[in-house]
C-alpha cells in the first residue's frame, strides 16, 4: 500500500473508530432537518417550498461540524509535523486525508437528504435531483471545510472561526446545489445546468484547495 492509500485508509478508519463513523454527520443532518420544522411550524406548503433549500443548508452545516477535528487533532497531537516530514507531496496527502474522511462519513447525507425531502412533502423527482446535487456538492463542501479547519487548527473555539471562514467560500456550491433542487421543484429546466455547475465547482475545488490546505498546515507550524 503506498503512502496516499495509507493516509486514505487511516483517515477512514479513524473516522469510524470510537463508534461514531458515518453515524456522526448523518445524525447531525437528521437532527437539523427534524428541528427545522419545529422552529418554522408545520404548514405543509411552507415546508414543501423550503424543503430542497433546507436539505442543502443542513448538509453544509453537517460537513462543517467535523471540520475542526480533521486538522485540529493533527495539530494538537504532533501528527502534523510527521506528515510534513513524511516525504509525501503535501497537497496529495491532504487530499487523501479529506477524501478518506468524506468517503467514510458523508455518504449517508444524500440518502437522508432524499428521505428528508420526501418527509417535507417534496415530490419524488425533485427530491432525487436534490439528493444528486448533494452528492455532487460533497467534495467541494468537505474540502472547503478542511481548508478552513487547517487555517484555524488548534485555535480555541475554532469551530466558530471555521464556520465564519468557510461559509462565504461555500456560497457558490450552496447556490447551485440548492438551486438544482429548487429549479426541479419549480419545473424549471435549469435543474440540470445547476447540477452540472455544482459538479464543476466540486472539481475546481478538488484541483485547488489541496494546495491551500497544505500551505495552511505549514504556516501554522512556524
Amino acid at each position: 500500500m503506498n503512502a496516499l492509500g495509507a493516509v486514505f485508509a487511516r483517515e477512514a478508519r479513524l473516522a469510524w473508530a470510537g463508534g461514531g463513523g458515518a453515524a456522526g454527520p448523518a445524525a447531525f443532518f437528521l437532527a437539523a432537518i427534524t428541528l427545522a420544522p419545529l422552529a418554522i411550524g408545520p404548514a405543509p406548503d411552507l415546508l414543501m417550498a423550503i424543503g430542497p433549500g433546507i436539505m442543502g443548508f443542513a448538509a453544509l452545516l453537517s460537513v462543517l461540524q467535523s471540520a475542526d477535528r480533521l486538522f485540529g487533532d493533527d495539530h494538537a497531537d504532533g501528527t502534523a509535523e510527521l506528515y510534513l516530514l513524511s516525504g509525501a507531496t503535501p497537497a496529495w496527502l491532504v487530499l487523501a486525508k479529506v477524501m478518506g474522511q468524506a468517503v467514510a462519513t458523508l455518504w449517508p447525507l444524500p440518502v437522508i437528504g432524499l428521505l428528508g425531502a420526501l418527509m417535507y412533502g417534496v415530490p419524488v423527482e425533485t427530491a432525487l435531483v436534490g439528493a444528486l446535487a448533494l452528492l455532487a456538492a460533497i467534495p467541494a463542501l468537505s474540502l472547503i471545510a478542511g481548508f478552513a479547519g487547517a487555517l484555524a487548527a488548534g485555535i480555541r473555539r475554532s469551530g466558530l472561526l471555521i464556520a465564519l471562514i468557510a461559509t462565504p467560500m461555500m456560497v457558490p456550491v450552496l447556490i447551485f446545489a440548492a438551486g438544482a433542487g429548487r429549479s426541479a421543484f419549480e419545473g424549471d429546466e435549469r435543474a440540470v445546468a445547476n447540477l452540472l455547475l455544482t459538479l464543476a465547482v466540486s472539481l475546481g475545488t478538488t484541483a485547488l484547495t489541496p494546495f491551500g490546505i497544505a500551505g495552511a498546515i505549514r504556516s501554522r507550524l512556524g
Binding site: 487555517l151 471562514i165 491551500g212 501554522r220 512556524g222
Partner: protein
C-alpha cells in the same frame, strides 16, 4: 520597485509625502462631489431625489471590492517575497475595507426603503456584499486569534488569497440568481448607460472615496511601521544592556 519601497526608511519618506497629498485630494474631491451630488445634479426622472443616495452608495460598494483586491494583492506580495510591509498593509486594509462594506450595506438599505419598499431584500448583489462583509470579518478574526505574529501573517495571507473567489461571487451573483438590483451600468463593454449629468458627480465621488481610502491605509500603515520599528529598537537596546551586564559579571 516593490523591494525598493519595502525598505522601511524609503517607505517612510514616501508616506510622509503621500499622506498629505491623499488627504488633501480626498477633502477637496469630497467637497466638490458632495456639492455636485446634493445640489448641482438633476433629480432622476424615475427615482426622484432619492437618486442622491447613489452618489454615496455606489462608490462605497466599489471601494468595498477594490480594497479586497488590495488586501489580496498585499497578501500575495507578502506570501511570495515576505516583505513585512506588505503584511502590515494587509493588516490595516482589512478593517478599512470592512467599514466601507458596512457603509455600502447601510446606504444601500437606506436607498432600498424608498425604491423597493423594504430596507433589505434577499437580492443577489446585496446578499453577496453581506457575504463580503463576512469574509472581512473572518480574515480579521483569524488574524486576531493567532498569537504569533508570523503565523498570523502567513495564515492570513493564505486566507486572503483564497477569499478572492468571493469577488467573483459578488460580480457574477446577479447572473446566478434572479435579481432586483441594477445590472452593471457603469462598467460595461459597450460603454456606460448612465446619463452624463449623473456620471460626473458619481465619478468624482468615486475618486474622492479612493483617495480617502488611500489616505486611511497609508496613515495607518505608517503608524504601524513606526510602531514596529520602535519595538525593534527597544529590543536592540535591551539586548545591548543584557550583553553589557554579562560582560560586567
Amino acid at each position: 520597485m516593490l523591494s525598493y519601497f519595502s525598505n522601511p526608511q524609503r517607505f517612510d519618506q514616501l508616506a510622509r509625502v503621500l499622506i498629505p497629498i491623499f488627504g488633501g485630494l480626498a477633502l477637496v474631491l469630497l467637497g466638490v462631489g458632495v456639492w455636485l451630488a446634493l445640489f448641482n445634479s438633476p433629480p432622476d426622472y424615475q427615482q426622484g431625489e432619492t437618486i442622491r443616495i447613489m452618489y454615496v452608495h455606489v462608490p462605497a460598494a466599489y471601494m468595498a471590492m477594490a480594497l479586497y483586491v488590495a488586501l489580496a494583492v498585499a497578501s500575495f506580495v507578502y506570501f511570495v517575497w515576505r516583505h513585512a510591509l506588505a503584511d502590515t498593509a494587509a493588516e490595516v486594509i482589512a478593517p478599512i475595507g470592512a467599514v466601507f462594506t458596512m457603509l455600502a450595506l447601510f446606504t444601500g438599505s437606506l436607498w432600498g426603503k424608498p425604491m423597493w419598499g423594504t430596507w433589505w431584500e434577499w437580492d443577489a448583489r446585496m446578499t453577496s456584499v453581506l457575504v463580503l462583509l463576512l469574509v472581512y470579518l473572518g480574515y480579521m478574526a483569524l488574524r486576531a486569534a493567532l498569537e504569533d505574529s508570523q503565523q498570523a501573517a502567513r495564515t492570513g495571507a493564505i486566507l486572503a488569497m483564497a477569499g478572492i473567489i468571493n469577488l467573483v461571487i459578488v460580480k457574477f451573483s446577479v447572473d446566478w440568481w434572479s435579481s432586483l438590483h441594477q445590472p452593471a451600468s457603469v462598467i460595461r463593454l459597450d460603454g456606460p448607460t448612465i446619463h452624463s449629468s449623473q456620471l460626473w458627480p458619481l465619478a468624482i465621488m468615486a475618486l474622492a472615496y479612493t483617495f480617502l481610502a488611500g489616505w486611511l491605509v497609508l496613515y495607518r500603515l505608517r503608524s504601524q511601521a513606526l510602531r514596529r520599528r520602535a519595538r525593534a529598537l527597544q529590543r536592540q537596546r535591551d539586548q545591548l544592556a543584557r550583553q553589557r551586564e554579562e560582560a560586567v559579571s
